[in-house]
């Protein structure tokens, strides 16, 4: 019985195969060649798969290096003295994506959602708007080209309005009326650095919509972020000077002085439909920011000349002026900046805005005293980190209607990433 079992095992294919593998005596040269070819093919396929995997990893890594994502946002609570509205406002949520097509070509974008709700009913007065969409072509330090939708280079806030970059819950009233922010222009232009201390920008693009100008809000309603007309385009240019860049005073002293010029025709509308008005706007503005040790000072002034204002909405002035001055102080002692407060800072500030949207009027037009107003804002900005702030302020306002406007109290949270 045992011998039968052993004989059967000897005859089995497994035994035969094992035997040939061990000795190799049963494989012909042709079979061996075929086996080697199969192995070569298997190795080739493995190499291909490895190469493809490496390429995918490289592409993924390159995308990560070329793609950038950023954003900012702010939430406000606004309270008004007396019967004025008290409300909470998810004021802004902004996201931006950038992409580097090549070392010298960069795409930038910012999409903004305002006031939390966009709806046809009465509850929603929000909007979604492309605030910036630019293609930058970096050619030399001095000469670079920008095309798309960019921030109109006027004033301080319009160019840098991320919440940690300014004091006060709301943007200054000057930056809502005189140089309204956010104010974008669609077009093309050049920018660069004339030296280490001087930067410039110059653009041509979509102009202001004449039908949107008003007696009390000035040029604010003239901005057009839809499909703006190029019928009477705008030209704008700006110079920034940083005189202390190469001095030993930096970083305890930091000074920037900027001047801007803007000129636009007014016969511009949306979607190619123009309001058929005459006239144009010229804006001259200057701004300065100076930091010395813990003290920050900044100020802006602007003069706006509107030609043929009498052809526009009744009450639009032929000259508008405004400005503000702000002093801020970083009060948190260095000894407190430990632990969770390691990156903290506390700033106390006071700002005075003055605005006159009725400074000079076309002959025969009645002056609206509500167009001349002043505002004091004072409050605190607490930086949890340099990118996250909590703000609180109070605003005292007056206009020439011989009455004090309701005092406003504002609280806010803002961030940038």
């Amino acid at each position: 019985m045992i011998s039968v079992v052993l004989f059967s095992w000897w005859l089995s294919p497994a035994f035969a195969e094992d035997d040939s593998d061990v000795t190799g005596s049963t494989a012909t040269p042709g079979e061996l060649r075929s086996e080697v070819d199969e192995l070569r093919e298997a190795v080739r396929r493995l190499e291909e798969r490895l190469e493809a995997t490496e390429k995918r990893q490289e592409a993924s890594s390159a995308l990560g290096e070329r793609l950038s994502f950023q954003g900012y946002g702010e939430i406000h609570a606004n309270f008004a003295e007396g019967s004025g509205p008290d409300l909470i406002d998810i004021h802004r949520l902004v996201f931006g994506v950038g992409y580097e097509f090549a070392e010298w070509i960069q795409l930038g974008s910012e999409i903004e959602i305002e006031h939390g709700l966009i709806s046809d009913d009465d509850q929603g007065d929000g909007e979604v708007v492309i605030e910036q969409l630019t293609l930058d072509f970096f050619l030399t330090d001095v000469f670079n080209v920008r095309a798309g939708r960019f921030l109109t280079p006027v004033g301080i806030i319009n160019q840098t309005h991320e919440p940690p970059s300014f004091n006060g819950v709301e943007r200054p009233s000057f930056a809502k009326t005189i140089l309204p922010s956010t104010w974008s222009t669609d077009g093309i232009g050049i920018f660069g650095r004339l030296s280490d201390t001087v930067q410039y920008q110059a653009y041509i693009g979509s102009g202001l919509e004449g039908a949107g100008l008003s007696a009390l809000d000035g040029i604010r309603g003239g901005r057009n972020s839809g499909r703006p007309s190029l019928h009477e385009p705008a030209f704008t240019a700006r110079l920034d000077w940083f005189p202390l860049v190469h001095t030993d005073l930096v970083p305890d002293h930091d000074l920037r002085v900027g001047i801007s010029y803007y000129r636009s025709g007014l016969d511009n509308g949306a979607k190619g439909v123009n309001p058929d008005v005459s006239g144009d706007v010229s804006i001259y503005s200057a701004d300065v920011e100076y930091s010395v040790h813990r003290l920050d000072l900044r100020g802006v002034a602007a003069l706006e000349k509107i030609r043929d204002a009498d052809s526009l909405t009744t009450g639009v002035a032929s000259q508008i002026v405004g400005g503000y001055l702000e002093a801020a102080y970083h009060v948190l002692p260095d000894s407190w900046k430990t632990g969770k407060m390691e990156e903290s800072d506390l700033v106390v500030f006071a700002r005075h805005d003055w605005i006159d949207t009725q400074n000079e009027l076309p002959s025969g037009v009645q002056r609206d005293p509500a167009g001349q107003r002043t505002e004091w804002t004072t409050g605190l900005t607490y930086f949890f980190t340099p990118a996250l702030v909590a703000k609180a302020d109070v605003q005292f306002r007056q206009d020439k209607t011989s009455r004090d406007l309701p005092i406003l109290f504002n609280l806010g949270l803002g961030w940038i990433f």
């Binding site: 070392e103 930038g108 860049v245 009060v331 800072d345 940038i416």
Partner: protein, 124 residues
């Protein structure tokens, strides 16, 4: 109006007081120049002075438009290596300018560390 005047007066008084406090407590060192960094050996030998000079200018003019001024010595050079690419992505400066900025900041960070070490030795 009385309330307004009082509030402004209090604000200004407060500002003056904290101003005096700040002046009394603050201290800072000058931002090193390109020549200083080259002379100290803190910068890579392959980084020409002109690039460091441009990098210093970019640090002063670009970075402070969004946040407070960070002195290079506040972080170590290795930390800046990860901070700078993210920050440069937010600015409108070219790749080459970004390289100059990074070269300056990391050299200045190394220089600050060396200065700190020297000060410690001197104090002992």
């Amino acid at each position: 109006m009385k309330f307004l005047a009082g509030a402004i007066f209090l604000s200004l008084t407060f500002l003056s007081c904290v101003g005096l406090l700040g002046c009394a407590t603050g201290s800072s060192m000058a931002l090193p120049s390109a020549n200083t960094l080259s002379g100290s050996g803190s910068s890579a030998r392959t980084t020409p002075d002109n690039n460091l000079r441009r990098g210093r200018a970019l640090l002063v003019t670009e970075c402070t438009s969004c946040h407070r001024f960070f002195e290079p010595g506040e972080f170590e050079a290795e930390e800046w290596e990860s901070i700078l690419p993210a920050m440069i992505g937010r600015t409108a400066i070219s790749k080459r300018q970004g390289t100059d900025l990074a070269a300056y900041v990391m050299s200045a960070a190394r220089y600050a560390q060396e200065q700190e070490a020297t000060d410690l030795v001197t104090q002992r």
